[in-house]
C-alpha cells in the first residue's frame, strides 16, 4: 500500500517536471472537455425545453382521452363524467400532489370563426382559465389583450394569424359556428351529424407562439361556453392534460392512471405516445449527440495519448535507471498510468472550472439563439429564443468517469512501452 501511495506521489511530481508543457496540454484538453460539457448542457437543455414546450403547447406530459381519440380526432369522442371525477380524485392523492404541476381539462372541436371581413376554420379548445394558466404556454404568449379569465364568459383568445386573416383586434366581435356533438344513443344515419350552433364572442386577447400550426388555427374559450356551444352533456370534456413537475415521472403516472381507470373506454397516453413526432425528433437528436460526443472524446483521448506517449519515449534513460535501481515493470507501468491520470485530472480541473462556469451562465442567463440564427429561429426545434443549459449532476459525473476510464485505457500502450524498457540499452546515453 505504501508503495502505491509513493507511486502516486511520484506520478504527480513527474507530471510537473515539465510544467509549461503540462499546463499547456492540460489547458487545451481542458478546453476540449469544457466544450464537451457546455454542448452537453445546451443539448440536454434544448431537449428538455423542446419536450417542455411540446408538452405545454400540446396535451401535457400525460393525457387522458376517450379511447380512439388519438387516431380519429373526432370531437364526438368524450370522456364520461365519472372518469373525470375518478381522475380528479386520483389527482388529490398525496403521491400525485407531489409530482403534479397542474391538470387542465379541455374540450376540443373544430369550427368556423367569422368576422365582418372574413371567416376562418379553427380548432376550438375549451379550457378552464385558471388551470390552463398554470400549465400552458399560450397564456404567456399574449401579444395583445389578456388571456381568458374566469369572470369573462364571452371572451376568447385567438392566434395571431387567425386575427390577421379575420382583420380583428382586441375587443372585436366574432361569431363562432360549430356542429353540436351528437348525443349518445341517437340514431346515427349520417357520418357527421349534429345541429350547427353559433355564438357571439369577443376577442379578449391575441397570442403568438411562433408555431404556425397553432397561430393560424387555435382559439381558446372558457370551458363552460364551449360545452354549451357544443351541446356537451354532463360537463364532459375531450381530454384531461396533466402537467408534471418532472417529465421523468410521466411513465409512472400513466401506469397508475391506467390501473385506476382499467375497464373504462379511455386511453392514457404519455407525451411520447400522444406526440410521436416529438419523440422521434428527440431520438434523432440523441443519435446525433452520441456520434458527436464520441468524436470529441476520441479527440481528447488522442491528445492525452500523444502527450503521454511522447514523454515516455524520451525518458528511456530515466526508466532505465529506475529499472536498474529495482523498480519492477509493473510498477513502472502503473507510474505511467498514474501520470496519465494526473494529467487528466489537471485537464479536468480546468475543463470543469471553465465548462461549469460557462454552463452555469447558460443555465441561468441562457444562450440567446437569436444571436446564433440570424435568419430567424428554426421553427423545427420549437425552443424558446433563449436556450437554457441543463447539465444534470449525473451527466457531469458520468462524463468525468468516462474521461478517466478513457485516460486509463489510453495510457496502457505507453505504460507497456515504459515497462518494457530494455536494459542495458536504455542506459546508453546517446
Amino acid at each position: 500500500m505504501r508503495s502505491f501511495v509513493l507511486l502516486i506521489k511520484i506520478s504527480w511530481r513527474n507530471v510537473w517536471r515539465n510544467p509549461r508543457g503540462t499546463l499547456l496540454t492540460a489547458l487545451a484538453l481542458g478546453l476540449g472537455l469544457a466544450l464537451l460539457l457546455i454542448s452537453l448542457g445546451l443539448l440536454d437543455g434544448g431537449h428538455e425545453q423542446t419536450i417542455a414546450n411540446g408538452v405545454r403547447f400540446g396535451p401535457g406530459d400525460v393525457a387522458i382521452q376517450a379511447k380512439g381519440f388519438q387516431d380519429s380526432g373526432s370531437q364526438e369522442l368524450l370522456l364520461p363524467a365519472q372518469v373525470v371525477s375518478t381522475i380528479n380524485e386520483f389527482l388529490q392523492t398525496d403521491s400525485m400532489k407531489q409530482v403534479l404541476l397542474g391538470a387542465s381539462p379541455r374540450l376540443l372541436a373544430t369550427g368556423l370563426l367569422s368576422s365582418a371581413a372574413n371567416s376562418a376554420s379553427v380548432t376550438i379548445i375549451g379550457v378552464i382559465p385558471r388551470e390552463e394558466r398554470a400549465v400552458s404556454l399560450i397564456p404567456q404568449r399574449m401579444i395583445e389583450g389578456t388571456y381568458l379569465s374566469d369572470d369573462n364568459p364571452a371572451g376568447i383568445v385567438i392566434g395571431a394569424d387567425v386575427a390577421r386573416k379575420l382583420e380583428v383586434k382586441t375587443g372585436s366581435k366574432v361569431v363562432l359556428m360549430t356542429q353540436a356533438v351528437r348525443q349518445p344513443g341517437t340514431k346515427v344515419k349520417d357520418v357527421t351529424g349534429g345541429e350547427m350552433q353559433s355564438t357571439l364572442l369577443r376577442v379578449k386577447g391575441i397570442f403568438r407562439t411562433g408555431i404556425e400550426a397553432v397561430d393560424a388555427d387555435v382559439i381558446h374559450l372558457p370551458l363552460p361556453v364551449a360545452q354549451t356551444l357544443l351541446g356537451v352533456p354532463d360537463n364532459q370534456v375531450t381530454q384531461v392534460a396533466l402537467f408534471l413537475r418532472h417529465e421523468g415521472d410521466s411513465l409512472m403516472v400513466a401506469k397508475s392512471l391506467r390501473k385506476r381507470l382499467a375497464g373504462a373506454p379511455v386511453e392514457v397516453l404519455t407525451w411520447r405516445e400522444s406526440m410521436p413526432m416529438l419523440a422521434q425528433i428527440l431520438g434523432l437528436d440523441h443519435a446525433f449527440n452520441y456520434v458527436m460526443n464520441g468524436v470529441v472524446l476520441a479527440m481528447v483521448g488522442l491528445g492525452i495519448l500523444n502527450t503521454i506517449l511522447m514523454r515516455v519515449l524520451e525518458r528511456r534513460y530515466e526508466f532505465g535507471v529506475c529499472k536498474a535501481l529495482g523498480l519492477r515493470p509493473a510498477q513502472l507501468a502503473m507510474m505511467i498510468v498514474g501520470e496519465s491520470l494526473a494529467l487528466t485530472a489537471i485537464s479536468l480541473a480546468f475543463g470543469l472550472a471553465l465548462g461549469l462556469s460557462v454552463e452555469h451562465y447558460f443555465a441561468t442567463a441562457g444562450l440567446d439563439l437569436r444571436l446564433v440564427f440570424r435568419t430567424g429561429l428554426p421553427r423545427a426545434l420549437v425552443v424558446d429564443p433563449i436556450l437554457y443549459s441543463r447539465l444534470s449532476p449525473a451527466r457531469i459525473v458520468s462524463s468525468v468517469i468516462i474521461v478517466f476510464i478513457m485516460a486509463t485505457v489510453i495510457s496502457f500502450y505507453p505504460a507497456l512501452k515504459a515497462a518494457r524498457t530494455k536494459l542495458p540499452d536504455a542506459l546508453k546515453v546517446l
Binding site: 413526432m277 511522447m310 519515449l313 421553427r379
Partner: protein, 420 residues
C-alpha cells in the same frame, strides 16, 4: 523562405522519427475523425434536403409574381392568358445545370366517396411523364399505381385520406371545387393508387391527379399553370440557378423563381444548424492539433538548444530560426494531413457506399423539420469541408509553433552552446 531551410526543416523532423510519427499519427487520426463526421453530416444534410424537396416541393419553383402566400387559383404563370408551357419548360431546361422541369396546377376542394363521407383536400395536378423526373412521390405508391397520361381519370391519394373517407384502389371518388370562373367544378374519378409518405399532412390531405384533368376541373385552359418545379444536377447550385433563371425568364415573362431555402425555411435552418455542429467539431480538432504540435515543437526546440545556439552563433538570424521552427511545424501538419487523408479515404468510401446504420436509436423513420429521415445515414463527400479543415490545421500548426519558435529565437547563443 529558402528551399534550403525547408529541406533542413523536413530533415529535422525525421531526426526523431518516433516522436514525429506519434505526433503525426495523433493529428492524423483526429483529421480522419473529422473527415468522418464531416462526411456523415454532409450526408445527413443532403438526405434531409433531398427528402424535403423530392417528395413534392422540388428544388426550385417558378411562379407568377405574387402567387405566394395567397396561392390564388387565378394567379397562373403569365396571368389570365397563361403562357406557352412547353416553351417555358424549354427555356428552363436550356440551362445546363437543370436536370428536369415539370408544370403543376393547384386547387382546393372536397373529396367525397360514394357513401357520403367527404373531406377537404388539396389538389395537385402534375404531368405524369415529367413529374417523376423532378420529384419522387411516384416511388411511394404502396397500393395500385402512379398516374398516367393515358388514364386521365385515375388519381392518387394518401393512405390516411383513403381511410378517412373510406376508399381503396378502384373506388370511385367525386371531387368538388370552386373553379377559376367561380362555378362549381366537379367530376368523377377513380382511385388509381395510394401513397404513403410518412408525413401526416400529405397522407391526409393531398390528392394527386393528371395536370390536364385538374385544369379541366378548375376550368383552366391548358396554357395556365401555377408553377414549374425544377430539379438540378447539383442541388447546391439551387440559389444561384434560381437567380439566373429569374433574370433570364423575366425578360419575356414576369416570374418569381424561388430556390428551396426560401420554400422550406425550416429545412434551411436545420442545415445551418448542422453546419454549426460540424464547426464545433473543427474547433475541437484544432485544439487537439495545438496540443500535439506545440508539445512536439517545444520538445524539439529544447532538445536542440545546443545545436540551435551553435547555428545562431554561426550566423543564423533569429528570423531564420523562427522560420525553421515554423517550417518544421508546417511539415508536421502536412504529414498529418496526408496520413489522415490516406486513413480516411477508405472510411469515407465505406460511409458513402454502405452508410451508418443507427437502427435502434431512432426507430423506423423519423420526421424532422417536416422531412422524413431514415435510420441509415449515408455519407456524402464534402470536399470543401475537408479542405477547410486542412487549411485550418495548417494555420493552427503555424500558430502553435509561434511560441516554441519565439523561444528558440531568443536563445542566447553563448548560453545555449554551453547547455548539456
Amino acid at each position: 523562405m529558402s528551399g534550403r531551410l525547408l529541406q533542413l526543416a523536413w530533415r529535422n523532423l525525421w531526426r526523431n522519427p518516433r516522436r514525429t510519427f506519434i505526433a503525426m499519427a495523433a493529428i492524423a487520426l483526429g483529421y480522419t475523425m473529422l473527415l468522418f463526421v464531416a462526411c456523415l453530416m454532409a450526408g445527413l444534410r443532403w438526405q434531409m434536403i433531398e427528402n424535403g424537396t423530392r417528395l413534392v416541393l422540388s428544388e426550385i419553383q417558378v411562379h407568377a409574381p405574387g402567387y405566394y402566400p395567397s396561392r390564388s387559383i387565378q394567379k397562373t404563370v403569365g396571368g389570365g392568358k397563361g403562357t406557352d408551357v412547353s416553351a417555358l419548360l424549354g427555356a428552363i431546361t436550356a440551362d445546363s445545370r437543370v436536370y428536369a422541369a415539370a408544370p403543376r396546377v393547384y386547387g382546393y376542394g372536397l373529396a367525397s366517396a360514394s357513401h357520403g363521407s367527404s373531406a377537404g383536400v388539396a389538389l395537385m395536378g402534375v404531368a405524369p411523364d415529367q413529374e417523376p423526373k423532378v420529384t419522387a412521390l411516384n416511388t411511394l405508391i404502396v397500393k395500385g399505381s402512379y398516374l398516367t397520361r393515358l388514364m386521365p381519370n385515375k388519381i392518387v391519394v394518401g393512405d390516411k385520406l383513403a381511410s378517412v373517407i373510406g376508399v381503396e384502389v378502384g373506388s370511385e371518388i367525386v371531387l368538388l371545387t370552386q373553379a377559376a370562373d367561380g362555378s362549381m367544378g366537379n367530376d368523377l374519378y377513380t382511385i388509381g393508387g395510394i401513397f404513403h409518405t410518412g408525413l401526416d399532412v400529405m397522407d391526409r390531405n393531398l390528392v394527386l391527379m393528371p395536370l390536364a384533368s385538374l385544369q379541366e376541373l378548375l376550368h383552366l385552359t391548358p396554357a395556365r399553370v401555377h408553377e414549374v418545379g425544377i430539379k438540378l444536377y447539383d442541388i447546391n447550385e439551387a440559389t444561384a440557378v434560381a437567380a439566373a433563371l429569374e433574370a433570364r425568364l423575366s425578360k419575356t415573362l414576369p416570374v418569381q423563381v424561388s430556390a428551396w431555402p426560401e420554400l422550406a425555411p425550416d429545412l434551411a435552418d436545420y442545415v445551418q444548424f448542422n453546419h454549426g455542429v460540424t464547426l464545433v467539431l473543427f474547433f475541437i480538432f484544432f485544439l487537439l492539433a495545438v496540443i500535439g504540435i506545440m508539445n512536439t515543437m517545444l520538445m524539439a526546440v529544447f532538445e536542440r538548444t545546443r545545436e540551435l545556439g551553435m547555428l545562431m552563433a554561426l550566423g543564423m538570424r533569429p528570423v531564420q530560426v523562427i522560420g525553421l521552427i515554423m517550417a518544421e511545424a508546417a511539415g508536421l501538419a502536412a504529414g498529418s494531413l496526408v496520413l489522415g487523408g490516406a486513413l480516411g479515404a477508405p472510411l469515407l468510401w465505406y460511409l458513402q457506399k454502405h452508410g451508418l446504420d443507427l437502427g435502434g436509436a431512432t426507430g423506423e423513420v423519423v420526421s424532422v423539420a417536416g422531412v422524413v429521415v431514415g435510420h441509415l445515414w449515408y455519407g456524402r463527400q464534402d470536399f470543401s469541408a475537408y479542405a477547410q479543415a486542412a487549411v485550418g490545421l495548417a494555420v493552427t500548426a503555424l500558430v502553435s509553433a509561434l511560441y516554441p519558435a519565439w523561444r528558440a529565437a531568443h536563445f542566447r547563443p553563448t548560453e545555449a552552446i554551453r547547455k548539456v
